[in-house]
């Protein structure tokens, strides 16, 4: 695996990745603003917000890869952290609407008004102040991950058991957020945002800024993950993934290492969610649905588990395919393709696109070496 082999902080693939990101965050704005709309290379605004969405997904995938690829924690609840971050941002954006809601209530969001809520629930306080909301974007997922992980890892819930209870967690949250009594807008979620930090959320400028911010967040997120997995800490993580008992007998508190990774990953997911919401303009409980979380796993698997770059790549590819196939007459068939893709990848590219490429490169570099053992995570048998 490259993880233990790359000498520099960024491997070649990492550098390419960041370069592409940078290029995109420069070119897209230019092509959107400076180029005439009828020109062939013009990037229309909807493509900008589309790309922005992909980038947040990529960051989300990155967060999954950190714990799945390097610690072997297959979280089927990552969507929950993403959604929590999203809701934190959404609540801020709701408060920014102010009197521009259809009922013109200065404080209460519309959905509270027509459900005859009299005053703002306590947990909405402070969200009109951006720094607080931003803090919540990190804390809400972070604390959930901390509590959940502390219980789960301390009592050594591993493998598929962990996956199932993470799924139960996100499912419980799904049900909770669907309840209108919860005060998060129920099924309609939070929507009809007006502006963010005073900028009109629909203005092209804002969209581009959000796009660039997403690119930046993805870049930084990548560097952070790289740094983590290459540190001594990261080596322990991989060690835990491959032989947890060995790690314990070597004197490491595996649960603490897992916990740190889990919380960091949750926060990354939260940031992704926070950037996602203003770009798609809505956050609703379906983001918590277990199916979403599974799909994230698939992105990572497609791109290549345990390669970071692959995760991001997979997220963008799968979602582009989704956009592509859900239009026109292919629409009725796109689920076949998506499903087929998953099967094909697990069968023929078990290490994903990037992972396979690394293996191929390894083979060429070192003939004497047998390829590294597959990254099989612990199954229910153990």
């Amino acid at each position: 695996m490259s993880i233990t082999r790359q000498p520099a902080l960024l491997g070649t693939s990492g550098i390419i990745f960041l370069a592409v990101l940078f290029a995109a965050s420069v070119l897209v704005p230019v092509l959107n603003l400076a180029v005439a709309p009828d020109s062939a290379v013009h990037v229309p605004t909807y493509v900008v917000s589309l790309l922005g969405k992909y980038l947040t997904y990529a960051l989300l995938a990155l967060s999954v890869d950190l714990i799945w690829g390097y610690v072997g924690i297959l979280s089927l609840g990552q969507g929950a952290f993403f959604a929590l971050g999203g809701y934190a941002m959404g609540m801020y954006l709701m408060r920014q609407i102010g009197t521009r809601g259809v009922y013109g209530d200065p404080v209460l969001p519309d959905f509270m008004v027509f459900l005859n809520w009299k005053e703002l629930p306590w947990f909405w306080y402070g969200f009109d102040w951006f720094p607080f909301a931003a803090l919540m974007v990190l804390l809400a997922p972070g604390i959930l991950a901390l509590v959940f992980g502390w219980f789960a890892f301390r009592s050594r819930v591993t493998g598929v058991y962990l996956s199932i209870i993470t799924q139960a967690m996100t499912f419980a949250l799904l049900l909770a957020f669907f309840r209108n009594d919860m005060g998060f807008g129920g099924n309609n979620g939070l929507t009809d945002f007006k502006d963010i930090l005073g900028f009109n959320i629909q203005a092209d400028g804002t969209r581009l800024t959000l796009f660039v911010l997403s690119a930046l967040a993805l870049g930084l997120g990548y560097v952070l993950c790289r740094f983590l997995v290459r540190s001594h800490f990261g080596k322990v993580l991989v060690a835990i993934r491959d032989a947890e008992t060995r790690v314990r007998f070597t004197g490491y508190r595996a649960e603490n290492y897992k916990l740190v990774a889990f919380v960091v990953s949750a926060m990354l997911a939260g940031i992704a969610g926070a950037l996602y919401v203003p770009q798609v303009g809505i956050i609703n409980p379906s983001e918590f649905s277990p199916a979403n979380s599974i799909e994230i796993i698939v992105w990572v698997a497609v791109g290549g588990r345990g390669t970071l770059v692959g995760a991001a790549l997979g997220a963008v590819l799968v979602n582009y395919a989704k956009t592509y196939f859900t239009s026109g007459m292919l629409a009725p068939y796109w689920l076949f393709m998506l499903g087929g893709l998953f099967v094909a990848v697990t069968l023929f590219l078990p290490k994903g696109i990037v992972g396979t490429y690394y293996d191929w490169r390894e083979k060429r570099r070192r003939h004497d070496d047998i390829p590294a053992a597959p990254l099989a995570a612990p199954g229910p048998a153990e």
Partner: protein, 435 residues
């Protein structure tokens, strides 16, 4: 299903081009304008496909009919179908794609309120037109949206009146799925019932999650609630998927319509097609259209529809009628305005009147909602409805319910000079409470 593909194939070429044009380098303008593009934004996969697919077919059918009749403004119509896959953010994305990339003149789409809420900002920003064909909770009137489904006062309240007068109901169970439409409708009904002197303890409100499948406890509670000596009825705003297990449980626990009638607002011919209706005999539904409406217009429509779908069992339902009305209104408005330009059409639409399928006419009112008759039907063995009551006249939609605290002072009028969707008659200002 299949015919849908055969039909879709006609536009396969363009659709593919369109899809390819999304290739990020491309970006790009959709080609020649000798056709007028009509966007179709209904889920073809995921949980909502169950209801929305029919509406997609309906629009394709109407487009074909219109083209056969010579198109609009001498141009052929071209339907552009996308699949938002029951995924709300995807709705917004696809709406943007239709308007910005495909340059459609109008979009017919959405079923759930959340999907509508999700696309709203897009339509406002890009100033395009959405026709929304499903009965909904009201509390909304947007310049770019035309609501051809029923507002609560065009469905719920007449149904309750019918039960009071004809079934002498004194005790009410308001059972709904926990989302905005049932919540709002039940709030309105609760206020309405109380205004009619129904006592607090004679109203039972119950909410269940989406796709709730185990109804044993709740149905038993309803049974108990109904055995208090007063005639009891259930007003059901239960959402599509949960209905089948609900009615099956009613049947199992032997609750007959003669004991405790259930009147539903989201159960139509399509839904009944999936249920064994024998146990449901006599339970009611309130709509603005039933397939069993016995007028020549309807008969003709059903005939053409079944011919189009090559399926003589294929049912029609209320949202279909709403779609048809909306489509015809749009065509008429475009011809009136002589252009497909959004602003012109939006202005032209108000006041447009087209025949509905229940033998009358529906008009687009200044609040962007339409006038409708209200029909009450009892379920028959064959899964059709026996229309037991029809409001004599047409009912105008109350987009802002007078029974809700927040909206009792609001009105919508998109004509000049008011040109406002939430005008507050108290403060005389546009924009809700407007401090």
């Amino acid at each position: 299903m299949l015919n849908m593909f055969t039909h879709a194939r006609r536009m396969a070429g363009r659709a593919l081009v369109g899809a390819a044009a999304l290739a990020l380098a491309g970006g790009g303008v959709a080609g020649a304008q000798e056709t007028i593009k009509v966007g179709v934004l209904h889920s073809l996969s995921g949980t909502m496909a169950i209801s929305e697919t029919t509406l997609k077919d309906t629009v394709l059918f109407m487009v074909q009919e219109q083209n056969a009749a010579g198109g609009v403004l001498g141009k052929k119509l071209e339907a552009v179908v996308v699949d938002p896959a029951s995924n709300w953010p995807l709705f917004a994305e696809k709406a943007r794609e239709l308007i910005e990339k495909e340059k459609v003149a109008v979009v017919f789409g959405c079923w759930t309120s959340v999907s509508r809420k999700s696309v709203l900002p897009v339509f406002k920003e890009l100033n395009s037109i959405l026709f929304y064909p499903v009965q909904y909770e009201g509390e909304e009137s947007e310049r770019n949206v035309f609501y051809t489904g029923a507002a609560p006062n065009q469905q719920a309240i007449p149904a309750v009146d019918y039960l009071m007068e004809n079934e002498d109901v004194e005790r009410w169970v308001l059972a709904g799925t926990d989302y905005v439409y049932p919540r709002t409708t039940n709030k309105i009904l609760e206020a309405y019932l109380k205004s009619k002197g129904v006592k607090e303890e004679d109203i039972m409100i119950n909410y269940t999650p989406f796709g709730h499948s185990d109804w044993q406890t709740i149905v038993a509670d309803i049974k108990k609630f109904g055995s208090a000596g007063k005639k009891t009825a259930v007003v059901s705003t239960i959402n599509g998927d949960a209905n089948v297990p609900f009615y099956k449980e009613l049947g199992n626990q032997g609750i007959k319509a003669t004991d405790i009638p259930v009147v539903a607002f989201s159960v139509g011919e399509e839904e009944l097609a999936g249920i064994d209706t024998k146990p449901l005999l006599g339970h009611l539904a309130a709509w603005n259209y039933f397939q069993s409406v016995d007028v020549p217009e309807n008969a003709a429509f059903i005939k053409k529809w079944q011919a189009y779908t090559k399926n003589d069992k294929r049912v029609t339902n209320d949202p279909m009628e709403a779609t048809v009305i909306g489509f015809n209104m749009w065509v008429k408005a475009v011809e009136k305005a002589g252009t497909t330009d959004a602003d012109a059409v939006i202005d032209a639409l108000i006041g447009v009147t087209v025949p509905n399928l229940s033998g009358g006419f529906s008009a687009m009112m200044p609040n962007h909602h339409i006038t409708k008759p209200v029909l009450i039907g009892e379920i028959k063995e064959d899964g059709q409805f026996d229309i037991v009551e029809q409001t004599p006249g047409l009912i105008v939609a109350e987009e802002w319910s007078p029974y809700l605290e927040g909206s009792k002072d609001l009105i919508a009028d998109w004509r000049k000079p008011l040109n406002c969707g939430n005008f507050n008659v108290k403060t005389g200002k546009c924009g809700g409470a407007g401090q």
